[in-house]
């Protein structure tokens, strides 16, 4: 009988079907990398053995610019770092400059209340994008549309306050740029009346969605010690903590209150949760997602209190900051939607208006640095689910 292949070639064909290691480049133009992140995956069949993130596609030299402009001129650049939470970025830099100038205790109450108001609204807006886009990564489209519907209302409120929808530059050194417009408080509380019941709808769409649970529960598990060692903060860290084991509610708004956050009543959601599905373990993608959901509830609670406080708040919305930066250096971290955002400002010894050095410690940058640890050994299809649960904004990572 004639054979098509001689025996030695048959052997080669047999060897060819074994799975080979393969390098797959995911991004920078990939819908589920949330911007221009490039991940190089070393895969063996469907299993990822190594992930190497490559950054820098959105690097805009923010720190170099910060050395060449006055602090007030730098505020618009901070907007463009984490462009989903511009208010929180403005606040972080303003607090750093105020700390350097010794203004921290002199900010009037009214300015503090407005700052808390807009920052918490912005946190809601940012988390809405976070969870909406996360659903999109996992293949469910409708939560994204609903999330953007609510976010749109917040952006409308911001537009009334400062004229911009994304890059606000509203919180500034010494307070906020303008007082709230007339009737804004009523419109804001009307929005909250609309928003709070909607959260329950998201829970039905995502939290209790069995496909969503299957995609997120038990994957990308980040142990607490690793989270701390890598400097992970925000929902990323809180999703790995365990209230029952006595972990502190690690939220800077609670443990190092700024802007008078100690006068507000709110909780820091920490696992274990009553709603946790059986498949989920603490520190996995599902917990990170759920922490964000719970934080929106608390933010809405803070906004309600701030609206009440605003009616009686004393003082002006802004004080005049000094024209020159004193020598010295100050480092301030604030709790942004994605974690602790730090700003480090060094003043020149000659008292100039331009700082010697501006450093932005980006929360997404640190959160992303743990990717290679939590993606090791997962499936290719889980990589978007894990990276999405980190909720990065590349503008902040690359600055």
């Amino acid at each position: 009988m004639a054979t098509i292949f001689p025996p030695e070639q048959e052997q080669i064909i047999e060897l060819d079907v074994r799975t080979d290691e393969m390098l797959v480049s995911m991004g920078p133009q990939h819908p589920s990398t949330h911007g221009v992140l490039r991940l190089v995956l070393r895969t063996d069949g469907e299993v990822v053995s190594e992930v190497t993130p490559h950054l820098g596609y959105l690097h805009r030299c923010a720190e170099k610019i910060g050395e060449n402009v006055t602090p007030i001129q730098f505020i618009p650049y901070t907007d463009r770092m984490d462009y989903l939470a511009g208010m929180n970025m403005n606040l972080g830099y303003s607090l750093a400059v105020e700390k350097l100038c010794g203004l921290t205790d002199k900010i009037p109450e009214k300015a503090q209340v407005i700052r808390v108001l807009v920052c918490e609204l912005n946190r809601i807006a940012s988390h809405l994008v976070g969870i909406g886009a996360y659903g999109l990564d996992l293949g469910t489209f409708s939560p994204f549309l609903y999330a953007f519907r609510e976010r749109e209302m917040i952006l409308d409120l911001f537009e009334e306050v400062c004229g911009a929808r994304l890059t606000y530059s509203y919180v500034t050194i010494g307070g906020v740029h303008d007082d709230l417009p007339e009737g804004w408080v009523e419109r804001c509380s009307k929005f909250l009346d609309w928003f709070e019941p909607r959260l329950e709808e998201y829970h039905t769409l995502l939290t209790r969605n069995s496909i969503f649970i299957k995609r997120t529960a038990g994957i990308g598990v980040l142990p607490k010690d690793m989270a701390i060692a890598y400097g992970c903060t925000g929902p990323m860290l809180r999703g790995s903590l365990n209230r029952e084991k006595g972990d502190p509610p690690w939220d800077l708004r609670k443990i190092e209150p700024y802007c008078g956050y100690d006068q507000y009543e709110f909780e820091v959601p920490l696992p274990p949760f009553a709603e946790t599905p059986v498949e989920a373990v603490i520190g996995d993608a599902w917990h990170r997602f759920y922490v964000r959901m719970k934080e929106m509830e608390q933010s809405a609670r803070i906004v309600r209190q701030a609206l009440r406080k605003y009616e009686t708040a004393k003082g002006s919305h802004r004080i005049e900051p000094p024209r020159h930066l004193p020598p010295g250096e100050a480092y301030v971290e604030t709790e942004c939607p994605r974690g602790q955002m730090g700003f480090y400002v060094v003043g020149r010894p000659t008292k100039e208006s331009v700082p010697l050095r501006v450093r932005a410690r980006s929360s997404s940058f640190c959160n992303l640095s743990v990717t290679h640890e939590i993606c090791r050994g997962c499936l290719i299809a889980d990589v978007p689910a894990i990276v999405g649960s980190i909720d990065i904004v590349m503008g902040e990572v690359d600055r």
Partner: protein, 176 residues
Amino acid sequence: MGGAEIIAILVEKFGPRIQQTKPDAIDPYVVVDAGDLVDVCRFLRDDPRLQFDMLNCITGVDYCEPDPAKAPKAGFEPHLEVVYHLSSFVKRHRFVVKVLLPRWKDNVPGQLPEVPTVTSIWPAANWHERETYDLVGVYFVGHPDLRRILLAEDWEGHPLRKDYVFPLEYHGIRGR
């Protein structure tokens, strides 16, 4: 724990190896020699009174006035600082450690000054050190993977140096 107490513990343990202390600064800090950095950091992390288990930030600051007319009045000698911002998850306090370096190793322009890596103490240092190397130009000895992180691999120079000259073009892309 306040900055002054942390400084007292460090001075008690390391004595003259702590080169400078500044308990009255906005963020109290100590200055150590590059050679002592790893020992001091390990102590800061492992001592039960301190427990600095989180490295928040590593910053390189270039103290230099490129304009020779302004240099005498700048108020500082040209040097480089690497600043480590630490915090403790358990103890809830913060602290700052600094290392002072010459701008160039052996005063040869282009030779990067060297600091030992703290990656073995805090894995978070890995990316921060890469960024500091990339933008400020500090060589971290012993770093497992010291590559540029934000800029392109073939980029020349370290942009956050004060005397950095902006390139006019990059691969045929005109800069200005």
